[in-house]
Amino acid sequence: MVATLRFTLWLAVAVVAAAVLGWLFRAVLTRIAPANAARLLRSAPLSASFGMAVIVFYLLVAILAPTIAPFGEREVVGAQFMPASSEFLLGTDNLGRDMFSRLVFGVRNTVSIAFITTALAFAVGAVLGLLAATVSGWIDQLLSRVVDVLMAIPALIFQLLLLTIVGTSIINMILVIALIDSTRVFRLARAVAMNIVVMDYIEAAKLRGEGLWRLIIREIMPNAAAPLVAEFGLRFCFVFLSISALSFLGLGIQPPTADLGSMVRDNATLITFGEVTPLLPAGAIALLTVAVNFVVDWMLHRASGLKE
């Protein structure tokens, strides 16, 4: 009962803090941003401004990791599972490495790997999707059927299958996740482009004698950009979660590289002793995905022109 009360209290405190952070961030941004952007930002709901604040914070942590972290990524600095102290802000992990430094480097590694993977999945999926919609005919048929088959197997299961075959390493994981996620991007890019290809101005551009690539990049891409950018945010979340899940299962980013998913796994035993520290890396994953989702939610809402 006491635990429940305390939990609810913490939840309330977190929600209020998030709202205040979002409000402050929006207030600061609207001051310093140029007039155009400021007007746009002022219309952002609190959840979206909170999301943006968190994303900026993660970017700063990722870029400044070596200056923020008091110890090295792989440095063993003390005994195992030492409690938090002024020297080790969050204590030490299962091998005696500083938890706080690991967390900072973990954010840097996981976020950058997730970003690379998403970009790769996006490059492949979006280009093929736009191509399929523009060219249509047998290329479209072929690509679409291949994607159908690849999507008939649940993503995590397929990732596990492919990782068994190619072996577990960071590069392999990036390629496997990018391959599987690019099928989802392909579907969306193709569906979006399908509606654009039938427009009159595309017809005009074709008659003007524009080549295929120019047609895709200059005519179709700009008009498909809004949903694709939103999809990029969502994809990033899924990729980030996939990487964390695989690393948590011990099949993704391999030690001694610091990473959020495997940190949870390595220190999970502490939870049964009532320590919160193993929840922090998991919470760091959750916080970033929630933040991106809030921003994407706002962008989709704006793009769809829905007014409730």
């Binding site: 635990a3 939990f7 959840s47 159908d148 088959v149 690849l150 008939a152 197997i153 649940p154 993503a155 995590l156 299961i157 397929f158 596990l160 299958l161 492919l162 990782l163 068994t164 075959i165 190619v166 072996g167 577990t168 979340c237 979660l241 964390s244 899940a245 948590f248 299962l249 011990g250 099949l251 998913g261 949870v264 999970a268 939870i271 049964t272 009532g274 919160v276 193993p278 929840l279 998991a282 919470g283 994953i285 959750a286 995905t289 929630v290 991106v292 989702n293 809030f294 939610d297 409730e308």
Partner: protein, 317 residues
């Protein structure tokens, strides 16, 4: 009447075809491995003798199509081959674990489906209210949580105080009540993860319908909002809702993998993860096939049921 049967038969045929292609893919993926799979499995430990022995064991001395036929006919007879790691027949390894996994997924589904439908309908009924907004933020957050985060929060919160066990090992022959008690935390984790999706989609499906003219008519007649939603909107929202439920049950299948690992639950997902680490290819193939088949089956069921729930689609020429 015969139209419906034809439709179901066509869908079934399509499902079987998909399943066939998926078996080809699962089997073929291993053939794509550059070089010799036996060499890749043995790695440093490869001597000419062990290589030759492993090749015969894997049937690599046969042509690929013959190996596929052997494998698939074995699978159809319930024989998945032999595990590379401990030489035991895979069907023996899988049998008990598959039942455990299905039990867990079913347990989660029984809680999650009514809960999320009720929440979705309530949120649609009171849309724009504080209840709706709170639910919106909560579900959006829980969608973006990794499964293991939810699981560890529950462990920290409920298992710490000794209410529920944090490790869901089931002693053989345990009565149902004890099984339910011991698997409560993993089932709750899955429920939380899946409820968010289902509830959001239910809400969206109903709100979509509320804009249609016949709902406005019902409202203008002076009908209460509850009656409008339950009697008028819900029957027409059935098709998307059935789809959402089935898709999320399919999602349970993959969610189960991580959750089983967190709670050390002896299910198929954990076996698969262990086998990936050991690169025990036949076991991974078998597990992937079972998961994929369940996934395809659920999608097929969703397709057929949502078509049946719409009279326009059933009587289509």
């Amino acid at each position: 009447m015969s139209d419906i049967w034809w439709m179901i038969l066509r869908r079934l045929a399509l499902g079987v075809l998909t399943l066939f292609v998926v078996t080809l893919l699962i089997f073929g993926a291993i053939q794509l491995l550059p070089g010799d799979p036996a060499q890749a499995i043995l790695g440093q430990a490869a001597t000419p003798e062990t290589l030759a022995a492993l090749r015969t064991e894997l049937g690599l001395d046969l042509p690929a199509w013959q190996r596929y036929l052997n494998w698939i006919s074995g699978v159809l007879h319930g024989d998945f081959g032999v595990s590379l790691a401990n030489k035991r027949p895979i069907s023996e390894l899988i049998a008990g674990r598959l039942a455990n996994t299905l039990f867990l997924a079913l347990y989660a589904a029984v809680i999650a489906v009514p809960l999320s439908l009720a929440l979705g309908i309530l949120a649609a009924l009171w849309r724009g209210s504080w209840f709706d907004r709170a639910i919106n933020v909560l579900t959006l957050s829980s969608i973006s949580f990794p499964e293991f985060f939810v699981a560890y929060i529950l462990i920290f919160w409920l298992a710490q105080s000794g209410l529920f066990p944090s490790i869901s090992n089931i002693p053989p022959g345990a009565p149902l009540a004890e099984k339910l008690y011991r698997t409560f935390l993993p089932a709750l984790t899955l429920t939380l993860v899946v409820t968010a999706h289902m509830m959001r989609m239910t809400r969206a499906a109903i709100i979509n319908l509320l804009a249609s003219p016949y709902i406005e008519m019902a409202r203008l007649k002076g009908m209460g909002p509850t009656r409008v939603i339950v009697h008028h909107a819900l029957p027409n929202a059935l098709a998307p809702i059935i789809n959402v439920v089935a898709l999320n049950l399919a999602y349970l299948i993959t969610g189960v993998v991580v959750v089983e690992v967190v709670f050390v639950y002896p299910g198929l997902g954990q076996l698969m993860v262990d086998s990936v680490a050991k690169r025990d290819i036949p076991v991974v193939q078998a597990a992937a096939l079972i998961f994929a088949a369940a996934y395809i089956l659920l999608n097929l069921a969703a397709d057929v049921l949502s078509t049946l729930s719409n009279p326009r689609l059933v009587n289509k020429r």
